[in-house]
Amino acid sequence: MQGVVKISDSRYPELLRRIDSPPQELYYKGTWDSDIFTNCLAVVGSRRMTTYGRQITNKLVSEVVPGGLTIVSGFMYGIDATAHKAALDFGGRTIAVMPCGIELIHPEHQKNLYRRILQNKGLIISEHKGNFAPVSWTYPRRNRIIAGLSQVTLIIEAAEKSGSLITARLAKKYKRRVFAVPGPLTSSVSKGTIQLIKEGAGIVSSANDLLTVYDIERDKPFKGIVPFIGLDGIEENIINKLQEEPLEIDMLARLFGLSVSKVGIAISLMQVKGILFEEAGKYYVREFYNL
């Protein structure tokens, strides 16, 4: 389903109407349900996402989505796409604001995600109609819609002078709350977030920091979606070690003095159970495993 909502329309989101130059028309795909705009959280960040960025995005989004927040982001690969996906994975709704015409899927290789957003009562919106191709100025213009729709803007990772910082500054201008995730000082995609913190952005250390802004009580900690299966001794040890630091399988074998074949068996089984995931050859314990 698709259509257009004019600024004069009563269905037009109130928060967005209040910004300096709200779009006159919003083209959309999906089901326009005004309820979706009630509690919006913008989650944006770098295209060059690090493993840390992915972990934090997954963790925070998975924890705020059960509270009923809608995740708004820009459909770009990296943090944006991860935020959309995490929202969908945990049963939430999400809005993708496109920098291009509503008929275009950009970037094209994310068409699966595009479809999933629409299937799960989400919205794809844009101020451009038809096959309008994205150009350099449409990205920062698009960012004002992301910031405008949301009570809170959360920056996960951002490089210096990046588009995410533009979104953050616009949010500040619109008198919305801005939060940034502190990252390692050595990372180039932490420079922007640290800059924001210096300028007064809030620091996020847990999902509660965000949920309190919306006045939402989180009554009980969120439990993982993967059923828990019993562990044997090796698995227990591996989890404990991996929670200290992510490691390669070779290193685990060395540390425990076990053959790589034994450790491999344990790791495969834990991966199938959903306890571990692998990235860049290193193994990580899933965020929700210990919650």
């Binding site: 295209r47 690969y77 796409a81 991860t82 996906k85 970037p107 290789h109 994310q110 995600l113 180039s188 390669e248 399988i249 070779d250 290193m251 074998a253 060395r254 540390l255 053959s259 790589v260 074949s261 491999g264 068996i265 344990a266 790791i267 495969s268 089984l269 991966q271 199938v272 959903g274 860049a280 050859g281």
Partner: protein, 514 residues
């Protein structure tokens, strides 16, 4: 006077009989002509034969000599017609009878000695098949022919020696038959596995690959040790079996790659062509189709370093031999079939700059570049690789620190090879009624027969299939690899642990956008 000398010509691995008819006419002007579609090398034979005869202190007849190579409509190539032509002329001039049921084959040097000539083994096989008793080949090539039982191989040093024999002036014993078992069994590799510190999982993958004959893809940053691992592989491979030895030696004999005095090949071939190698070089071809690296790696290892740098066309051309174990090269004039059952060991970088996921260095590639780079190795090729392993960069600090066991704690190639040999023995027994040797060659029908999975194991595989998004073909690959792991443990059944370990080597689809 007309003399008929028998010889044979090799076309790929096939041999056809060729009659060399030499007519020395008393009438007409002195001349020396070869007919029967000779190539340049055959035509130049005239000069070699003439000079060699003169230099052997035999008078070259000033008569009209016509040589016909029959069948006359098949193009003739190669230098081995020297000997039959010379023998024909000598027999006519010296009036000596040629022995019955004999083939002559060899290239002449200008001084009358015989040079090493390619294809002697194929000639001996042809002789055995056709029931021809004697073959006369250059001494330097006799060893490779002497592995065939039931044919008298006469190693000839020079024309004078041969002539004395033909004139019954000397006794001449054929070369002694040599059994395959009598060849020495040395295994040589550039590196021993115990020289490689760290990389436990990659080494284990090598062991599994060597045991089951599986293809293997290693991904990792430059300097991680991919090449070193591959170069250590020959050290853990078992010797060729007798049947395999003969298959390999045939290909090498036909390509002229057996050195003078060389004989049966017992060690598995290891071919490492560079990524600039042309398609013809890798796959084989040419107007007279020659064996490429895939065939020269038959029953051995084809190591393709920097796999993603190989041109797409070359990579795709690997598909057919990887699937069928042989390939047919068709040209307008001929069609040649070469076996090509090799183990592919490929290595690739994770991205164009190589430092994606590197613990210290930063990758400078853009998302687009990485996506593009990944796509260079096509799905169908990845689908045909059973084992996928990541080779992480080993931190120098870790190498010197206590985290790494001392060299004594590392297993030597010799010990790993023992396990590999044991696993291959099990496979040989299993497939005694089939025409395959290793687990990697199993087709679906074999998998059904030899790889029964318990309910638990099947469940694990199915669950993993969902979690890891395995393709249907990957399913069968996992089963094959699990079969090999079970064989390494001498276990009849594929246990859940074997399947779990096999899953470690599943194809990694790195969904970067997720």
């Amino acid at each position: 006077m007309l003399i008929k000398v028998s010889s044979a010509s090799n076309l790929g691995l096939k041999t056809i009989g060729v009659d060399v008819e030499v007519n020395v006419a008393d009438r007409g002007l002195p001349a020396f002509e070869i007919v029967g579609l000779p190539s340049k090398a055959v035509d130049e034979s005239k000069q070699r034969v003439k000079t060699a005869i003169v230099n052997s202190n035999i008078e070259f007849p000033a008569k009209r000599i016509i040589v016909n190579l029959a069948p006359a409509d098949v193009p003739k190539e190669g230098s081995f017609y020297d000997l039959p032509i010379a023998v024909g002329i000598l027999s006519s001039v010296m009036d000596c009878r040629l022995p019955d049921e004999s083939l002559f084959f060899g290239e002449l040097s200008l001084d009358g000695t015989l040079r090493h000539t390619k294809g002697a083994l194929l000639l001996a096989l042809f002789a055995r098949e056709k029931g021809i008793k004697n073959i006369f080949v250059p001494k330097a090539s006799a060893n490779e022919a002497a592995i065939i039982k039931g044919v008298n191989i006469y190693p000839i040093e020079n024309l004078n020696q041969l002539l004395s024999f033909l004139l019954n002036q000397i006794e001449f014993k054929p070369a002694e038959y040599r059994e395959a078992k009598s060849f020495k069994k040395t295994i040589q590799a550039e590196f021993d596995m115990d020289e490689i510190i760290g990389q436990e999982q990659a080494k284990r993958a090598m062991e599994i690959a060597a045991s089951g004959g599986h293809n293997l893809l290693m991904t990792g940053s430059p300097g991680a040790g991919k090449t070193m691992l591959a170069r250590a592989l020959p050290g853990i491979l078992p010797l060729l079996t007798e049947e395999e030895s003969l298959e390999v030696t045939k290909i090498y004999s036909a390509s002229g790659r057996i050195p003078p005095e060389g004989s049966l090949i017992r060690t598995r071939p290891f071919r490492a062509p560079h990524h600039m190698t042309s398609q013809v070089g890798l796959i084989g071809g040419g107007s007279r189709p020659k064996a490429g690296d895939v065939s020269l790696a038959h029953r051995g290892v084809l190591f393709l370093d920097e796999f993603s740098e190989f041109p797409r066309s070359v990579m795709e051309a690997l598909r057919q031999p990887m699937e069928d174990g042989h390939l047919t090269i068709s040209r307008s004039r001929e069609r040649v079939n070469y076996p090509a059952r090799f183990m592919l060991i490929a290595s690739a970088n994770p991205c164009p700059c190589g430092f994606l996921f590197h613990p210290k260095k930063t990758c400078i590639c853009t998302q687009r570049e990485i996506e593009k780079y990944r796509k260079r190795i096509s799905g169908p090729i990845l689908d045909r690789i059973d084992l996928h392993v990541e080779v992480p960069v080993v931190d120098l600090k870790d190498l010197s620190g206590e985290k790494i066991p001392s060299k004594k704690g590392l297993e030597s190639s010799f010990r790993i090879r023992k396990r590999v040999i044991a696993a291959r023995k099990i496979q040989k027994m299993r497939f005694r009624d089939d025409d395959i040797y290793t687990n990697a060659e199993m087709k679906n029908s074999h998998i059904k027969r030899y790889c029964l999975l318990s309910k638990e194991t099947r469940q694990l595989l199915l669950q993993a299939g969902i979690n890891f998004q395995l393709s249907a073909r990957s399913y069968f690959k996992m089963i094959k690899v699990a079969r090999t792991i079970a064989d390494l443990e001498n276990s009849q059944d594929i246990a859940i642990t074997h399947m779990a370990e096999a899953l470690q080597y599943r194809p990694r689809v790195r969904v970067l956008e997720s």
